[in-house]
């Protein structure tokens, strides 16, 4: 706490001190440090430093500007990184070995300014023919309700799309509800599904009002396959991520392309959900909005660079929403919520370690956090000491063991899908039987039964059932969350 460049530290007060307290602290500090009293070297400089600090902190407008630009990291870190490893040390081996690292980043709220960030949000509604009937009606109702619940300073736009996009509500705050309702009510199902059309229109609307003190987000709701424009969509998602715009997706029913929507959302750090029951549409929208409203940082990026001789095999986000991350060196993680960590499980393959080294750097990286007008870089390094092979390890920490165990489930269903795709339904069958028994042993009875049923289905159909495939995938992803909600 002796950072002499910080004005608050110079006066020995907290950031939240009142005007009165600042004045009092100033008098006290002056008394102690006045060159007439204090004969130590540097006393004059200390005295001048205190004068400078008081000059700023006693003037409300200058104090405000100083607080805004004050470095929240360092002594008064607003963001905290914690790491945990699957083992205390790497083993001296002449063959490659695996180590897992669990990295947490959490905002710790020591910063004074914790005001909420308003939303700049766009709803993208599928109104292709397949949405006809209950689906579209439920979606219309839920969207209207959610818009009504948004805050006055939130900026809202609504897009509908089939093979063409239509702006139902152009980007604005406090839209007149009568206008919103009549426009959404006028929506009916027709045409095909071209997701790019909808996304592009939403992107344009969001950009109109995109600003650093907003959380910019697109919510896509669809029930079908998009045709031929997947590449364009992914490119758009990447551009969106660069502008701090997140995308999350909701797939209704079983027809939609989960691989594609997952990839689309993952590119912006957003999440994709799957529902079978229509009454969950509103819940999904509500959860998405609530989650965005908790944002501390509108966007957070992670860069991770494995050290030479180390390969990153996989990365899986566990919190706030479970999400397999693309194995690349930089990715978007979406928003960072107040007091709620982002937790990422990394899997590294470490090549044999040269004799003379007793500490190995596994990877180095940084989180890039964007909050209001400021960008923060929070660097971190993953490293471990080396020990001789003969030494026994204590059991792995519970949290990381659990995460790896659940990652294994996700991987098994993923492999079973690959088995089927490569024409080995027999292997897939056996894998799902194994998965089922592991799930059962972990007390995941309902998911175990789904795996069992799916195994039987594959036996007779040589393929996954469309429902079971998605249930298993999103079910095993959901298991990754430490506390099931």
């Amino acid at each position: 706490m002796t950072n002499k460049t910080d004005f608050y530290n110079r006066l020995n007060i907290n950031t939240g001190a009142s005007e009165q307290a600042i004045k009092k602290a100033y008098r006290l500090a002056v008394k102690k440090s006045h060159p007439d009293v204090n004969k130590n070297d540097g006393a004059t400089q200390l005295f001048l430093d205190i004068q400078e600090a008081y000059k700023i902190l006693s003037d409300p407008s200058k104090k405000g500007a100083y607080d805004e630009g004050r470095e929240p990291l360092g002594t008064q870190s607003a963001v905290h990184i914690a790491t945990e490893y699957s083992k205390d040390a790497l083993t001296k081996l002449d063959e490659p070995q695996i180590i897992y690292a669990l990295v947490d980043i959490v905002s710790t709220q020591t910063e004074k300014d914790t005001t909420d960030l308003p939303l700049n949000i766009s709803f993208v509604l599928d109104n292709s023919t397949s949405m006809d009937g209950a689906r579209l009606e439920v979606l219309k109702g839920a969207t209207k309700e959610i818009i009504q619940e948004l805050n006055d300073d939130d900026i809202i736009s609504v897009i509908s799309f089939n093979d063409r996009a239509k702006v139902l509500l152009s980007s604005q705050s406090q839209p007149p509800m009568a206008h919103v309702e009549s426009n959404i009510n006028s929506l009916f199902a027709e045409g095909g599904t071209e997701i790019y059309q909808g996304l592009e229109a939403a992107f344009e609307e969001i950009k109109k009002n995109s600003a650093f003190n907003y959380v910019n987000h697109i919510i896509l709701i669809t029930d079908g396959h998009t045709y031929g424009d997947e590449e364009n969509c992914i490119t758009l998602a990447r551009s969106a991520a660069k502008l701090d715009i997140g995308i999350s997706g909701l797939g209704i029913g079983i027809e939609w392309n989960d691989e594609f929507i997952d990839e689309l959302c993952a590119n912006t750090g957003g999440q994709c959900m799957f529902i079978q029951e229509l009454d969950q549409v509103k819940n999904f929208l509500k959860q998405s909005i609530t989650s965005l409203q908790e944002a501390y940082s509108r966007h957070i990026l992670l860069e991770i660079i494995p050290a030479p001789g180390v390969k990153m095999l996989s990365a899986f986000r566990i919190l706030p929403e479970a999400l397999p991350l693309p194995t690349q060196e930089e990715f978007s993680l979406g928003i960072l919520k107040k007091d709620k960590p982002h937790r990422i499980l990394f899997e590294f393959l470490v090549n044999p370690i040269p004799e003379e080294i007793d500490q190995v750097v596994i990877a180095s990286g940084a989180f890039f956090l964007k909050r209001k007008s400021r960008d923060f870089t929070i660097p971190f390094t993953l490293n471990r000491p080396i020990i001789a092979e003969s030494e026994e390890f204590p059991p792995p920490p519970e949290e990381i063991f659990r995460a790896i165990s659940h990652l294994t489930f996700y991987r098994l269903q993923e492999k079973a899908q690959k088995d089927v795709a490569s024409g080995n339904p027999g292997t897939a069958f056996q894998r799902l039987i194994n998965l089922s028994s592991h799930l059962m042993a972990k007390g995941e009875e309902s998911l175990a039964k789904i795996a069992m049923n799916e195994a039987d289905y594959i036996k007779s159909h040589n393929n996954f059932s469309p429902t079971g495939k998605k249930q298993l995938k999103y079910g095993t992803i959901r298991l990754m969350l430490p506390e099931k909600t």
């Binding site: 519970e398 194994n434 042993a441």
Partner: protein
């Protein structure tokens, strides 16, 4: 490399679970499973045998394994952890409980098939399949190798095809 004892898949050092079959490769306490009970009505294995066991056999015991086919209580040592299997000539590590007298070979029991662990403070009983050739199951549900699986009163523990009833005299009426 580590070899998975269940499917012989090779994994790198430091891996906890076999990537092919999902079996646990290292022993670790997993607090997740302690509260779970395998559905006991599974696959028609439920049967009431409490009256067929002489009362005096139940005295001073916390845990009994009852061999269903021969209606016999299996002799188990009075210790907190023991292994079950069958003894073969020249075997280096022998199991604490030898099932040879019950024709265990024909039933597909491995030489070192499973460990039973009784944790005294929690009074919980777990079975760990030691990567046996023919696997184990509880109430007809296959259990993963090298993982602690809880045993409850009335469960049917099957090693290969050798089925035993788990009886906790304390919980008998």
């Amino acid at each position: 490399m580590i070899t998975c004892r269940v499917c012989n898949n090779q994994e790198y050092h430091g891996v906890f679970f076999c990537g092919e079959c999902g079996s646990q490769l290292v022993l670790a306490d997993d607090k997740n499973v302690n509260t779970f009970i395998y559905p006991s009505q599974a696959r028609g294995l439920e049967l009431d045998i409490s009256n067929t066991i002489p009362k005096k056999l139940l005295e001073n015991k916390t845990f009994i394994l009852y061999y269903l086919e021969q209606k016999e209580v299996i002799n188990i040592p009075d210790q907190n952890e023991f292994t079950i299997g069958r003894i073969v000539d020249g075997q280096v590590i022998t199991p604490d409980v030898d099932l040879n007298p019950y024709k265990a070979f024909d039933k597909g029991v491995s030489r070192l098939h499973a460990t039973i662990r009784i944790s005294s403070e929690k009074n919980k009983i777990h079975v760990i399949d030691l990567g046996s050739a023919n696997g184990s199951s509880v109430n007809g549900y296959d259990i993963p190798a090298n993982s602690e699986v809880p045993l409850n009163h009335g469960d049917v523990l099957t090693l290969g095809k050798f089925s035993m009833k788990v009886i906790l005299p304390k919980e008998m009426k």
